[in-house]
């Protein structure tokens, strides 16, 4: 009985929250479910949107990663979900909702095993095994699309972009936007496909179908001084000078002082200041530049000087826009005008300032080295455009991925069901507990088609049975059956109806979902330190200057 008399040993700081053991795993699983529930209804072409208000800002989104991010999840286990959604977003850009759902479903399937006392490590092992098999099979199932003719390739890219846009607000105009996205990506350097070189500009007003692609750069008219309106607003094949230089009368307020002895000298100083700026302007004009862009301000004096010489100028051009102009026109950004060389000038087919909605935009079109493109998005409300931008972003990422990897699978839940069928089949050949676990993995995969059907208002049980039956028949023809949200029967061959996704998306989704599930299953103890703001509150109460616990011992 001596252990009862032992004094309690204080190991952790007061207020620290610890919980451990099996109950902890179950509790974590429940928390994950709660989070996954929020995004569940956004999956699939009939997925709904969420409106989240954070402070004065309202976001309406269908994108899993965006929603999870805005929810401000604090539960440590549930945060894992947020992280995998984010990693999916960074890695492939699409499929964030399905990754989250899959991870949650895997955990849900694991819960009974944990409750029954199976060691979590066995579950993890089973899941890992199942993942390995699934990935292997995914590789085998994916279709290598023909890349012989450019038209075929373009066609495939369009299909993939459309599938990505299916669930978004833009679904009804997906034809239009997939063209836009594919054309934009095609503009990029095929070896690098730098996402940053596709600019998306939002202009409220107009209909979404008024959006357009500029094969070059577009940016909003920058702040301008008097005299700007007298500059020409249209050039063909202009010489574009890119600067990172201030073209203003500069004052050395801080570190210079002039002492003037005679009043005549006064004029000299003034003249010297003017000479400084005039010299710069003269060099630019002499070099033959017709458009001058600078990251730093271009003052009123320079504006008028250029206006007098029929030169267009824009100061305070945002960094990323200037960079894209540089890429598009083949110019180089100069930090000084000394030794300005016409070779550093870029050029483009046509420069124009046009009215878009309520704004005026500078467009650089038909660039010779067009390795960049800009999409100007139009739409009714700010939130609408923002969501459209996120959707386009997903589509762009998918097309980029597709551009490189030429393997696709059919969407609409078809690939998940096929993998599930295979795993079930495989499970029968395994002895021991792993059989159960692989079976559960197979069952968890079905969550994707089931949720798509549920969200579309279809009878999910009936649909799932139909689909399982189709897939069980095996062979080529049953393989690609997935949920059909438009037809009467509710199922169709999604491959032949062109619901295509790059296999990379699925691969990454499976991997990260399984990893996340395993990570959460292997946690059996959470130690949560009290918030640091509590700390500061407690301090004045007690012993001031008390050293932290760890140091006292």
């Amino acid at each position: 009985m001596s252990q009862f008399l032992q004094p309690t040993i204080l190991l952790l700081r007061e207020g620290t929250d610890t919980s451990q053991g099996r109950a902890q795993i179950v509790s974590n699983i429940n928390a994950v479910q709660a989070v996954a529930d929020v995004v569940k209804s956004t999956l699939g072409p009939r997925g709904m949107d969420k409106m989240i208000q954070t402070g004065p800002k309202v976001t309406i989104s269908n994108d899993g990663a965006t929603i999870l991010n805005l929810l401000e999840v604090v539960h440590p286990a549930a945060r894992v979900l947020v992280d995998i959604a984010k990693s999916q977003d960074d890695e492939v850009g699409d499929g964030t909702t399905s990754t989250t759902l899959l991870a949650a479903e895997l955990l849900k399937e694991a819960k009974p095993f944990i409750e029954e006392g199976i060691h979590p490590q066995i579950v993890i092992q089973g899941y890992r095994k199942a993942l390995e098999l699934a990935l292997e099979k995914l590789e085998g199932f994916s279709i290598n699309i023909s890349r012989d003719s450019p038209e075929d390739k373009r066609d495939t890219l369009l299909k993939c972009a459309q599938t990505a846009l299916n669930s978004k607000l833009l679904a009804n105009t997906k034809q239009f936007f997939s063209e836009l996205v594919v054309s934009a990506v095609e503009k990029l350097d095929p070896n690098i496909l730098d996402r940053d070189l596709i600019g998306i500009k939002n202009v409220t007003g107009g209909s979404v179908t008024d959006s357009f692609l500029v094969d070059g750069v577009a940016f909003k008219k920058t702040f301008s001084y008097a005299g700007f309106e007298q500059q020409p607003k249209r050039f063909e094949n202009p010489k574009i000078c890119l600067l990172n230089l201030e073209l203003e009368l500069k004052s050395e307020k801080e570190n210079a002082e002039i002492r003037i002895e005679k009043p005549e000298e006064y004029q000299q100083i003034v003249d010297a200041e003017w000479a400084l700026i005039y010299e710069k302007l003269e060099i630019i004009v002499k070099a033959g530049a017709q458009i001058v862009l600078s990251k730093l301000p271009i003052g009123d004096l320079a504006t008028q000087y250029f206006a007098d010489r029929n030169i267009f100028c824009a100061g305070r051009v945002p960094q990323e826009d200037l960079l894209r102009v540089q890429k598009a026109t083949g110019g180089q950004v100069q930090t000084t005008v000394n030794g300005l060389n016409p070779e550093t000038f870029g050029t483009c087919g046509l420069f124009e300032e046009v009215q878009v909605g309520a704004e005026r935009y500078n467009l650089f079109k038909n660039c010779p080295q067009s390795r960049t493109a800009t999409i100007v998005l139009r739409g009714g409300a700010e939130q609408f455009i923002q969501e459209a931008e996120r959707s386009l972003n997903d589509a762009i990422m998918i097309v980029r991925r597709c551009f490189k990897a030429n393997k696709i699978v059919a969407g609409g839940g078809a690939i998940e069901l096929e993998l599930s069928r295979y795993l079930r089949h495989y499970a029968r050949s395994v002895t021991g507990k792993t059989q159960y676990i692989v079976n559960s993995y197979a069952k968890a995969l079905e969550v994707i088609p089931r949720t798509i059907a549920e969200n579309a208002g279809l009878n999910s049980i009936e649909i799932m049975n139909k689909l399982r039956q189709r897939h069980a028949q095996g062979g080529e023809e049953g393989r690609w059956y997935g949920v059909d949200i438009n037809g009467q029967s509710g199922v169709c061959d999604t491959h032949s109806s062109f619901v295509w996704e790059p296999s990379l998306v699925k691969r990454n989704a499976l991997c990260s979902a399984t990893e996340a599930a395993c990570a959460i299953l292997s946690i059996d103890e959470t130690v949560k330190n009290p918030k640091s703001d509590q700390d500061t509150k407690m301090k004045p109460k007690g012993q001031p200057g008390r050293p932290p616990m760890g140091m006292r011992r």
């Binding site: 409106m51 208000q53 007003g205 107009g206 001084y225 008097a226 006064y266 208002g457």
Partner: protein, 535 residues
């Protein structure tokens, strides 16, 4: 949000400040969103049409504005509710893109949401509703393009443009003078329009307001009006054949931008400095004079000494002209903006027929009118009116009219107003509805009902019986196959809008229907609202 408890009986805290967040899901969320948006639409409803009423809005600072313009009303209402805000943005984006029809678009969105609510009650999936709306919208737009007529904007002294401007002005407080104001707006736009590129830069039309007088005194100045007077009361008030020197430097000795000190140790130096200063003034005036300029406009100020010198040299001058005005004047007179005195050359001067100082009523305020400019590329509309509120509202109304004209120059297709275009679309959509075999049929039909809401609202605002007049117009449209039958709001005895000459631009109508459908779709797609609890 509801709390869940784990096996230890502790609540799950999954989200930050979970207790303070509210979550609405499913049907509850749809309905709450729709009701909020509808509330906005209902407020605007009574402002629609030629007999629409105005709203008086008082800002937190106590500023009162009276307006009939949809975008202005919703903007000043300072709406908090997130869904309702979507409608505000809807109205503003119509304003930004088209400039007119800002009330109509919100009312249409409200009607669509009203219809969606009944459909939701029937148990139709919200996305089916939005699909149906979308299909109906396409049909309506196609039909609009069919019934649209191209007009010759040049013909008959731009009569068509004037009529379109009158339609836009018809619903405003200045409707009594719509013909005169319409003409002013048309002339102003045509003066600055680039007809070959079909581009109109609205920045070149300056709208200046001045309380006093009446709306009839509003006039167009083919030049620029600036709210400034001559720097010295004794300077001549009128300059004909003006040669304008436009300066962006002050009439004072130049200052180095670098920090500088002048140390004076004896009286001799002081005198020298003073003389030097004087010399500067004399040189400056001489430079301006020598170039042949007979008036100087300066973006900056100059002190009394310079002022006096200018007067002596018989050189009228204006100080503190704002930057935008300087730019406008430069555009209109062909002047080059001169940043320093040494650069003044005769070629850089702008030319104008006359520059006059005008006085209004009995007040002391004066303005400068620069007329008959060398290249009339900028114009000014001077709006007069009995009170600040009227003047402000007139300014907004003229802005609407200018936008309409600009749109017609861009795209010269029109449809007829008075609800006739909406009715024609509604009939077409109804016809299409019967071809749809799926659930969307209901949504398509409801879309037609919503479109009919516009003429019925017009009729209601005019004191007509909405149901009878809409029914009559509808049956006549069908029997006569005439898509121009609308509501006779002005009681002119005919319902044919072509005879009444109620013109609206096709682009504006198309935009209204598309934008409203888009926003409604967006609202219908939200099934979950997570917000702070006080929402």
């Amino acid at each position: 949000m509801s709390l869940a408890f784990d096996d230890y009986g502790r609540p799950y805290i999954i989200l930050r400040d979970q207790g303070q967040k509210k979550r609405m899901k499913g049907l509850e969320a749809y309905k709450s969103n729709i009701l909020a948006a509808k509330a906005i639409a209902n407020t605007l409803q009574s402002s629609l049409g030629p007999k629409g009423m105005d709203k008086m809005l008082v800002s937190p600072d106590g500023d009162v504005s009276v307006t009939n313009d949809g975008a202005t009303i919703v903007e000043k209402m300072e709406i908090q509710h997130p869904t309702a805000k979507l409608l505000v943005e809807l109205s503003q984006s119509q304003d930004a893109e088209i400039g007119d029809g800002t009330t109509g678009v919100v009312v249409l969105a409200g009607k669509l949401l009203e219809q969606a609510l009944t459909l939701l009650d029937k148990g139709i999936h919200p996305l089916k509703i939005s699909d149906g709306f979308d299909r109906a919208c396409d049909v309506a737009i196609k039909h609009l393009e069919q019934i649209a007529e191209e007009i010759d904007i040049q013909a008959n002294d731009h009569e068509a443009l004037i009529q379109a401007a009158c339609t836009a002005l018809g619903s405003k407080v200045v409707s009594k003078r719509k013909r005169e104001l319409g003409k002013i707006a048309v002339t102003a736009v045509l003066d600055v329009a680039d007809l070959t590129r079909k581009d109109v830069n609205l920045d070149l039309i300056k709208i200046q307001t001045k309380t006093g007088g009446s709306v009839e005194d509003t006039r167009l100045i083919s030049g620029i009006l600036i709210d400034k007077d001559m720097s010295h009361p004794q300077m001549q008030k009128e300059v004909t054949d003006a040669k304008i020197c436009l300066l962006t430097c002050p009439f004072e000795p130049p200052k180095p931008k670098t920090k500088h000190n002048i140390n004076i140790s004896n009286a001799e130096d002081y005198n020298k400095l003073y003389q030097q200063e004087q010399q500067y003034f004399i040189d400056m005036v001489k430079l301006v004079k020598n170039s042949g300029a007979n008036i100087a406009l300066c973006q900056w100020g100059f002190d009394d000494e310079a002022n006096h010198l200018l007067l002596q040299n018989n050189l009228p001058a204006v100080r503190w002209v704002s930057g935008t005005d300087v730019e406008l004047i430069a555009m209109a007179t062909g002047a080059r903006i001169i940043p320093r005195f040494q650069e003044i050359t005769p070629e850089k001067l702008g030319k104008a027929g006359s520059i006059k100082e005008v006085q209004f009523g009995t007040s002391n305020e004066r303005m400068l009118v620069i007329e008959n400019c060398q290249c009339t590329k900028a114009v000014t509309i001077l709006i007069r009116g009995g009170s600040q509120m009227i003047v402000d509202e007139a300014k907004r109304s003229i802005h609407d009219a200018i936008c309409v004209i600009r749109n017609l120059i861009k795209d010269n297709r029109i449809v007829y107003g008075g609800g006739s275009a909406e009715l024609a679309c509604a009939l077409q959509v109804l016809q299409y509805a019967d071809e749809v075999s799926s659930v969307e049929q209901y949504a398509v039909r409801s879309f037609a009902d919503a479109l009919e809401g516009i003429p019925s609202c017009l009729a209601d605002n005019c004191g007509l019986n909405p149901i009878t007049s809409v029914a009559q117009a509808k049956s006549r449209q069908l029997s006569e196959k005439n898509p121009r039958i609308g509501i006779d709001c002005m009681d002119l005895g005919t319902t044919d809008m072509k005879e009444q000459r109620i013109y609206e631009t096709l682009s504006s109508k198309k935009q209204q229907i598309q934008l409203a459908t888009q926003v409604v779709k967006m609202i219908l797609k939200i099934d979950d609202v997570i917000a702070p609890d006080d929402y």
